[in-house]
Symmetry: C2
Subunit: 241 residues, 2 copies
Amino acid sequence: MLAPQHPEWKTTQPFKAVLEGDMKAVGASGMKGLMEIIVATHSGMTAAEFEKTVSNWLATNTQPRFKRLYTECVYQPQLELLAYLRANEFKTFIVSGGGIQFMRPMTEKTYGIPPEQVVGSSAVSEFQIKDGKPALVRMPTIDFVNDKAGKPVGIYEHIGRRPILAFGNSDSDMQMIEYTLAGEGRRLGLFVHHTDAEREYAYDRNSHVGTLDKALDQAAAKDWIIVSMKDDWAQIFPDQK
Amino acid sequence: MLAPQHPEWKTTQPFKAVLEGDMKAVGASGMKGLMEIIVATHSGMTAAEFEKTVSNWLATNTQPRFKRLYTECVYQPQLELLAYLRANEFKTFIVSGGGIQFMRPMTEKTYGIPPEQVVGSSAVSEFQIKDGKPALVRMPTIDFVNDKAGKPVGIYEHIGRRPILAFGNSDSDMQMIEYTLAGEGRRLGLFVHHTDAEREYAYDRNSHVGTLDKALDQAAAKDWIIVSMKDDWAQIFPDQK
């Protein structure tokens, strides 16, 4: 725990909320708040150390309600769509608000998406010679927040061409989908609506995390397709391994 | 020409050097100086406008000495190496100090490398609704300089894994090659030495642009292979189209 070295965290958000266990306030700090926490608490780690920490965490922590690894809490219809697209010569990417280096250790095995096809939020890193060996070291500074209007920017920077199909699940994905549909030719923009309290969760307009509100209002006018998890998905998670 | 709107350029480097036609001073400003020029002079353009400008420039300008398009001034041995690597299931990338959005319109056709496998220097861009349409607009700020110690950082950020083979041609590539060779297993680090004044150019230690100096000194100790253009390359450019 790094908190004793950072007395200012006791009075500064979003750190105060974390130390007080106030997860609602953490959520309200948004993707930028979460990135501030991750960046500050992992500063000084090398790329290799960070990757190992993430891999260990993913291998040993289970999701409390579904009692399976987080990497097994992926959506079966999403895996089927990715496989279908690749079988039809699409190249598939993940474009998430999550940390790019947090996702990369698991995306290839979980989604069939290699590290170089992952776009996410990032910390500044620096090339240093550490203990006589070249290393990439994480700095205590946010480099990029891949959220909302940041998503088309992240796509432009990392992919360099406009998507043909984009799939989101919250208002944070609206700009990405607008950018996708503004291209020439046939395009597709999809939102999953979490409507299934029994098999997964049900939330939308009033949720602090993953808010889906404006997208629901604008969907019809903008040709966005809303997929209802409850009504449209036969299966949610892959069969237990 | 944007200069009348920017009187400060007359007295500020590297802009002063450009306006005075002092190409030696422009060169001495380094990759960061060049990026400052590109970023400042193209600010406000949309991604689509910038791409069109680059494509037009590439389609209409010929290299003065070789009297062929710049996209035809690529190295035949490099094309053969890229094809050989891809035929053996390697994924190939360009990692250059040049502007990422300047390179992307031509890398697929010229090198067989798609836009998402290009790593370069970049300007900050912003998602905006412009004339009622979603657009990415270039800001007057450098985002990243993919040069020297920046190259391993660019690789980490865009590719997310360590290269197995890296090929450079100047001291600016040393950190990239050090980072490559520091990985486990078999790795390869190569530098082209421009030794062929007759068929291309000869320069190294005293050149203002593309200086190859420390890399020559350290090559033997660090297992870097120096490829002599004059002695090792049967052909320089592809046969004229």
